[in-house]
Amino acid sequence: MIYLDSAATSLHKPPQVAEAVAEAIRSLGNPARGGHPVSLAADRTVYETRRRLAAFLGCPRPDHVIFTSNATEALNIALFGLLGPGERAVSTDLEHNSVLRPLYALERQGLELAFVPADRQGRVDEADFERLLTPGTRTVVCTHASNLTGNALDLARIAELTHARGALLIVDAAQTAGVLPLDMTAMGIDVLCFTGHKGLLGPQGTGGLCIRPGLELRPFKRGGSGVHSYDPEQPAAYPTRLEAGTLNAHGLAGLNAALAYFSVVGRESLYAREHARMEAFYQGVRDIPGVTVYGDFSRPLRAGIVSLNLGDADSAAVADALATDFGIAVRAGAHCAPRMHRALGTEEQGAVRFSFSPFTTPQEVQAAVEAVKTLAAE
């Protein structure tokens, strides 16, 4: 099978990731739940992963790296921890439901909500952020790159506009952590939400948020913390404040191994490979008669995603034909991005998303281009 669904999850990972998870399952106790050797071993693994992530993502303090099971949980923690009734938030049409549904729930509780619109190629005008950042706006929450088009936002510029109005910037980096340059301090990001199993090449069930020191979030869940057990309140210190319950130390051991791989190979070289495969595919399909490609390919930095449609064919039928006749795995449908599809005009048809990884080969790209040509000619 040719796997071109890396925007959903990284199928191909460095082998040391699976080895680290297997070793962790055999050897680690419960982190922060004891002082014996196997519990301390889990503690050390978790803490080393915090340190690596803090360095990798530009978070000033390892104890402000909060672990969750995925980016969705991280975004829920950030949004419900910072926003409330009577406040105003600005977001964009590019967002995934992991941002939209928490925002809509908060809107039902009295949050005022405004969206920066996207055009038919999924682009936003950064000036719209300035227009919508009216006095009293508490927060801007936006994706770093669309999971449908791959278009990336200029976060440094958005942070500048956001902070000029005294608001906070929450970023969904589900598609970009481990892919695009990302330094929360240098870019002015207040809360950075990430997942471990996509661009970071770690296991599913890992993710988290990095919080700028000084920013106080309300606890999203409450429970066991391993400290202050007789205190009826969730402990105030980060990361414990936002990490009730046993952490996924086994998965984090795998993420730690993936981060060690990044430190040897380098994010830049991995991105260069992924970007080259995406660009080759884009160049191969863009002029095929009947093919419509969505997104802005004029900017140098973007996620490794090419979404397209063949005429008016149902995207599900195209994806099924690619899987059954060509052995190519892609994602059809709405991609949990309803506003983005409305902006592209693909609400009914959906789109066929091809997404690439550093491990995609040129031969696989060529096979995918030929498959699209064949289907488009039918």
Partner: protein, 78 residues
């Protein structure tokens, strides 16, 4: 049980701080080790850095120099 003796403990607000203490101390060759926090310090749970009383002054200076935040420094019979 073994006879108790005066022992020094540094307690922390979160396990992450305890892990940072261990990392820093190991890297610098500072004395001590992590243990379950004694009940005289807190009747909850968690980890504390245990050391001999005579190492207390040097450890306090070391943590201060490293910017490591600890909740308390306790001398108890343990």
């Amino acid at each position: 049980m073994r006879p108790r003796r005066p022992t020094l403990f540094f307690s922390f607000a979160a396990t992450a701080a305890a892990m940072e203490a261990e990392r820093l101390c190991r890297a610098a060759g500072q004395p001590g080790r992590l243990v379950p926090v004694p009940r005289q310090i807190t009747a909850g749970c968690g980890l504390a850095w245990m050391a001999s009383p005579e190492d207390g002054e040097a450890l306090r200076a070391f943590f201060k120099a490293e910017g490591l935040e600890y909740e308390g420094c306790h001398l108890i019979e343990f």
